[in-house]
């Protein structure tokens, strides 16, 4: 063979030999044969990919479809009762007590199809959101005599968790009957409803503006009067003038308010002119003014596209509105703002402090014993459960530093605490403490790999230690700092427990829940998406309606954390690129 290989004619032989050697190594399914460990490690990776993909995919699907319209069915029971409502579950497992009964009953009827319950949301008229009238009914499938899908069944939200199910039967303008068939009523409803709601919103805005103007005017006149009184010795005439001006402003304002009241009454009358009659089951009818209806939908009519539109609208509302009457009713806008704000405060606090501390440890400490002790302490800090940090934050910030600040700067508002209670700032500080070790450790690791030759080059140029740190070591440490920030954000997002101790609340009541960043106050309590998820999961007994919200909220939290991480990752790879050229 060896002699053959020297001759040119044996090239084909050699090639064949190679092919057959390769063929011998082909394993199952045509894939190259590999060592057993190859399969084992690959399998482990596949499991990781599956679980991550599963988590993201499942949450994405459930979250995105949280507001998908559900069909409305009409059920007649064997005992003659009728129900009209949204199907929350077609076949839920029965409750424990029902199960006991079933075990007895199953000896006679053992059809598995009829064992489960159907969960229906039906009309609830009471505005209070307590569980008794949440409108959720559980109907044993055995007791259902017939089940029809009424094409014109509609769901009407009246706000405050009140939802009515029925069929529209008449549409009135003033007292004139305009339409009396659902197919004609519904398009009318949709256009007129939008119109009158817009009118009412405009009126509301106008009212707010006028009231604010009047307030501002009167306040300025009052201030002028106070100023004039303060200077009354010098010019007594000015006081009289100011009093007169105030009185004039008052009368003008009163006139303005009267005019406003008149206009509002007109608008109100005009918005009230459309009414719709909706007929529920058992002959109940509701005579509803369109303007009082928050949302009306006819899910059984909806095609795919309109379902998407409805779903998007509900998502938008969910993301942009604030506190409602209950956790289920409220949107998550304040929670998003709170989460972003507290994460930002944390980042702003933890990154500079952590980076400085890491530089001190690496660059300035000469004493190896001291360095060792500090390092051990910091790494231990990373292992402390987050709830302990919560208790620590409560003790240090809310109960010690806060009251001291209040006594110093906010003494006039005592006994009501300003900083002596949980709030955004203290929550940010607590999270910063919690994540400090992460930032220190990753910065330190990054500084440790700065080539000593580069460091010496800087010293040899006559740079001081700080100049070397700032101009040479910092660029090297930036990717590590980004990693630390990334890990810190991740750890902070996971820490709900400490936040509950230092200022996160279930519900904030801002002006209609429309808090924006500009309105955020450092001492104010805030909502947090993590806590919201917790509340949706555990603090409500209305399992069937909160579950979709739970998925949606978790999805939003996930999206926020992933986007923040993406920013950190992008920065890191950019900074790394500058250093990586050296490896070429």
């Amino acid at each position: 063979m060896t002699s053959h290989q020297e001759t040119p004619t044996s090239a084909g032989d050699e090639e064949r030999a190679c092919v057959s050697r390769d063929a011998a190594r082909v394993g199952i399914l045509g894939m190259p044969a590999a060592e057993p460990m190859h399969w084992l490690t690959g399998g482990a990776l596949a499991m990781v990919v599956l679980s991550v993909g599963g988590l993201l995919g499942l949450l994405l699907v459930h979250g995105l479809f949280a507001f998908w319209p559900k069909p409305i069915v009409r059920l007649s029971m064997t005992d003659g009762r009728a129900y009209l409502g949204e199907v929350l579950s077609w076949n839920a497992s029965p409750t424990a007590s029902a199960r006991r009964d079933l075990i007895v009953a199953s000896r006679s009827a053992s059809d598995p199809e009829t064992i489960g319950d159907m969960i229906l949301r039906v009309s609830n008229r009471s505005p209070s959101p307590s569980s008794s009238d949440s409108g959720i009914v559980r109907l044993p499938r055995r007791a259902i005599a017939s089940q029809t899908i009424d094409p014109w069944a509609v769901a009407i939200d009246l706000g405050g968790n009140v939802r009515l199910f029925g069929t529209p039967t008449a549409f009135y303008e003033q007292s004139t009957l305009i339409a009396d068939e659902p197919a004609r009523i519904w398009p009318l409803f949709e256009t007129r409803h939008r119109e009158v709601r817009q009118q009412r919103r405009d009126a509301q805005r106008e009212k707010d503006n006028v009231l604010a103007d009047v307030d501002r005017l009167l306040a300025s006149k009052r201030r002028e009067l106070a100023a004039a009184r303060a200077r009354s010795q010098a010019s007594p005439q000015a006081v009289d003038d100011a009093e007169e001006a105030l009185a004039y402003a008052r009368s003008e304002s009163d006139k303005e308010l009267d005019r406003l009241r008149e206009r509002l009454a007109q608008v109100e009358a005009s918005t009230q002119r459309y009414r719709m009659i909706v007929k529920g089951t058992d002959g109940t009818t509701w005579n509803l003014a369109l303007v009082d209806i928050v949302r009306g939908s006819a899910p059984n009519q909806a095609g795919f596209l309109s379902a998407v539109v409805t779903s998007c609208e509900r998502w938008k509302e969910f993301l942009t509105t604030g506190a409602g009457d209950s956790v289920q009713q409220s949107g998550i806008y304040p929670a998003i703002v709170g989460t972003l704000a507290v994460t930002m405060i944390m980042t702003v606090l933890v990154v500079p402090v952590g980076v400085m501390a890491a530089f001190f440890l690496r660059e300035y400490t000469r004493n190896p014993t001291l360095r060792f002790c500090l390092r051990i302490t910091i790494r231990n800090l990373a292992g402390i459960p987050s709830i302990v940090f919560g208790v620590f934050g409560l003790l240090l910030f809310c109960d010690t530093i806060g009251p001291a600040l209040d006594a110093l700067w906010f003494a006039d508002s005592l006994p009501w605490p300003t900083f002596g209670k949980g709030g955004l700032l203290w929550a940010g500080c607590t999270l910063a403490l919690l994540t400090l070790p992460v930032v220190i450790v990753s910065t330190e690791d990054a500084v440790a790999v700065v080539p000593s030759s580069v460091r010496q080059a800087s010293y040899a140029c006559g740079a001081s230690q700080w100049q070397t740190i700032q101009r040479v070591i910092l660029p090297y440490a930036l990717p590590g700092i980004a990693t630390g920030t990334l890990l810190a954000i991740a750890r902070a997002a996971a820490a709900v427990a400490p936040l509950m101790l230092v200022g996160a609340v279930t519900m904030t009541h801002g002006s209609e829940g429309n808090e924006t960043f500009s309105q955020l106050q450092l001492d104010q309590e805030f909502m947090h998406l993590g806590l919201h998820v917790y509340n949706l999961a555990f603090e409500t007994d209305d399992h069937w309606t909160t579950r979709p919200l739970l998925y949606a909220t978790a999805l939003v939290l996930l999206v926020i954390v992933i986007s923040l991480n993406m920013v950190a990752i992008a920065l890191r790879s950019r900074w790394r690129q500058r250093l990586a050229v050296r490896e070429l």
Partner: protein
């Protein structure tokens, strides 16, 4: 020629030198075949010896004077009684076997060894008459008066421009014009200007190895140093890049005072004006390069420069 086998725990071994290939080939335990090398034996025993300094070196105007200088890492004495004047405007090379303390001596000049823990010194050096080792000396200001080039090129992960003007930046100079001028003149001096003038904003790490080393030289001379310290500047470069740097050294003669450490005897003989031969932390002979390489006064120096050492 080295007596006994006692060289191994070389006192002058520094972390930098331990990486390079030892030049001394010797069989452990083999007795000195000649028995006539009293000087090296005396050094190994730690006895004081006196440096043979040629008169030509003493006649020069010294930019840097090293007087009775000793240096210890912990308890280990690395440099012993160094006495030598470094002539102004000339290139002085330090040659000697690995671990003899050449790089350490160089780093003592700009006090980079201060950064190492547990080092201490005795004796004095003075740069243009100003002492370097007084307690009142500001080390930062001192280092600004010198430039240093290292064995491995070590540009900062910044732009070419920022690398060159780094010494000026840390001096707090902000005027664009002065920085631009310094950058261009330094890069011209190292013959790098034409190669990088369109890439001044590029990351310095994108340059080739030889360009990076010349960039480091440009950085070292940007702030017009009084002395330029070069620690084996060509040892990591290919012959072409090495030739370019040797050309630079040729041009620098007269305008810069250079203290150069090299392992390459040809380089030392080609480029330098004066040569000092070091052994185990001592300077054995110091004189004009031509004399050191052709008619050294010490037999040990002759053995080393002719490659018969060991």
């Amino acid at each position: 020629m080295i007596g006994g086998g006692r060289l191994s725990p070389s006192p002058g071994r520094t972390p930098q030198d331990s990486r390079s290939v030892p030049m001394l080939k010797k069989t452990p335990g083999s007795p000195d075949p000649h028995g006539d090398n009293d000087l090296l034996a005396a050094i190994e025993r730690g006895e004081p010896i006196s440096t043979v300094t040629h008169e030509e070196a003493l006649r020069e105007d010294p930019v840097l004077a090293i007087e009775h200088f000793n240096f210890w890492y912990g308890r280990q004495q690395v440099l012993t009684d160094i006495r030598m004047p470094i002539p102004r405007g000339k290139i002085t090379t330090l040659i000697g076997p690995s671990g003899c303390g050449k790089s350490t001596l160089l780093r003592c000049v700009n006090r980079l060894n201060d950064l190492a823990d547990e080092s201490h010194v005795s004796g004095q050096m003075s740069l243009n008459g100003a002492p370097l080792y007084d307690s009142s000396v500001d080390v930062i200001a001192l280092r600004k008066r010198m430039g240093m080039v290292f064995q491995k090129s070590n540009p900062f992960p910044k732009s070419v421009y920022e690398n060159v003007v780094y010494p000026l930046r840390i001096d707090g100079i902000r005027q664009r014009r002065r920085l631009d001028e310094a950058c261009e003149s330094s890069l011209r001096k190292v013959a790098l200007w034409d190669e990088v003038k369109d890439r001044l904003r590029d990351n310095a790490l994108t340059l080739s190895a030889g360009q990076q080393q010349r960039l480091c030289i440009a950085r070292a001379i940007a702030a017009e140093p009084e002395i330029l310290l070069m620690d084996e500047p060509c040892s990591a470069l290919d012959p072409i890049a090495t030739a370019k740097i040797e050309d630079l050294l040729e041009q620098f003669k007269g305008s810069y005072s250079i203290l150069l450490v090299t392992h390459n005897l040809q380089q030392a003989s080609r480029t330098s004006d004066f040569t000092a031969f070091m052994f185990l932390g001592r300077i054995l002979e110091f004189g004009p390069t031509r004399t050191i390489f052709t008619r050294p006064r010490l037999a040990e120096t002759n053995d080393f420069v002719t490659g018969r050492f060991g």
